[in-house]
């Protein structure tokens, strides 16, 4: 498991143990990964997050256009796997959870423990710090050499 911020780890850990989900991804509504469990390649996680955020945002937009209430969660029941997608509010903004589960658990359990995780997450948020210096002002030469290396120049 990897979490962007340490306080996310415990609620996610509890969710994983109790729900027996196989893959779990927490992301911002813009599709940036916050925490994950079960993926191997970082770049694949990003694609899953981008698609998950796209599904949630387009479904919400569709609800708005149709004039119906936004859907609380989206699920897809496959033969051996199910996918569960749900957005929720945190003091850090709107987040999305993407869960893939197998036959050893059920949608009902996933939903139940997901809701508990959301409660824990929203209660456990620490206060945000002030402004920190991120990159040295002279990062440009490093950026240039990274990009040149990427493009094989």
């Amino acid at each position: 498991m990897r979490a962007l911020e340490p306080w996310v780890e415990q609620p996610l850990m509890t969710f994983l143990t109790e729900s027996e989900a196989r893959l779990t991804l927490l992301m911002t509504s813009a599709g940036q990964v916050v925490a994950q469990h079960g993926f191997t390649r970082a770049v694949d996680i990003m694609s899953a997050a981008a698609l998950g955020a796209a599904i949630v945002s387009s479904t919400e937009e569709m609800a708005r256009v149709l004039g119906v209430r936004p859907f609380r969660a989206l699920t897809h029941q496959g033969e051996s796997h199910g996918i569960f997608l749900s957005a929720f509010e945190t003091p850090r903004g709107r987040w999305i959870g993407l869960v893939v589960y197998g036959q050893d658990t059920s949608l009902g359990l996933v939903q139940l423990f997901f809701d508990r995780m959301v409660d824990e997450l929203t209660q456990g948020v620490p206060a945000e710090g002030g402004t920190k210096q991120v990159l040295a002002q002279d990062f440009e030469s490093e950026l240039h050499s990274s990009l040149r290396a990427l493009f094989g120049r």
Binding site: R2, L4, E5, P6, T28, S29, A30, G31, Q32, V33, V34, R41, A42, V43, D44, M46, S47, A50, L51, A54, S57, S58, E61, V65, E128, G129, G130, T131, K132, Q133, V134, L135, A136, Q137, F139, E140, E142, L143, H144, S146, L147, A149, L150, F151, G152, R153
Partner: protein, 199 residues
């Protein structure tokens, strides 16, 4: 918004390629995908119609390696350029850290460039962002076409580039200018981060 992880020293930035239909946004990503070594890029996700028009977005994550001690990743997105798809275009623009405006240099496509630029400004504003606060570069694409069909970079600068942002001429089929454009927008995005990001 860029995600900065101080514990793992990781930065993830979202860069959106914007512009009118068929200006070459998807072609930018395809060229980058073809040039970046496999271990430094993810799969390219393309949600397109059967005729290769972008329906929702293209997505390509790339790994820049370490910059000032931070593992830096870029997520490149394209929007669908067709006017019809504004609802999805807005969704893709959400949370962008930088924008590349890909203009079609063909003279007959001038009005579409103008419209798309206005649309960018409106969609940013709807999200509460003033276009002047967004790291933005222009790319004048299809400069490989015959001179009588296209406008020159300086003509395009005069006609479209009111804020004098950095502009690059390009030919996405052969790749000239693609790298320079990405470099240009990356610099702006990281400069903004360096100027101070919320922890």
């Amino acid at each position: 918004m860029s995600l900065v992880n101080f514990t793992a020293r990781e930065i993830t930035c979202k860069i959106v390629y914007y512009g009118p239909g068929r200006s070459g946004k998807t072609s930018n990503l395809q060229y980058i995908y073809g040039r970046v070594p496999q271990d430094r890029r993810g799969k390219m996700v393309s949600l397109a119609t059967a005729s290769d028009r972008t329906l929702f977005f293209d997505f390509l994550p790339i790994d820049l390696g370490s910059i000032s001690g931070f593992t830096t990743k870029f997520q490149l997105y394209t929007v669908p350029g067709q006017v019809y798809y504004n609802a999805t275009r807005k969704l893709v623009l959400q949370g962008a850290d930088g924008v590349v405006f890909v203009a079609d240099s063909q003279a007959r496509r001038f009005d579409e460039n103008m419209e798309s630029l206005q649309n960018l400004q409106e969609n940013l504003l709807a999200e509460g962002t003033d276009i002047r606060d967004m790291p933005l570069v222009y790319q004048y694409n299809k400069q490989d076409l015959p001179a009588d069909l296209i406008m020159s970079p300086s003509e395009l600068d005069d006609a479209l580039n009111f804020r004098s942002v950095r502009s690059f001429s390009s030919d996405c089929l052969h790749g000239s200018g693609v790298f320079e454009t990405l470099k240009g927008v990356s610099e702006l995005v990281l400069q903004k981060l360096a100027a101070g990001a919320p922890a």
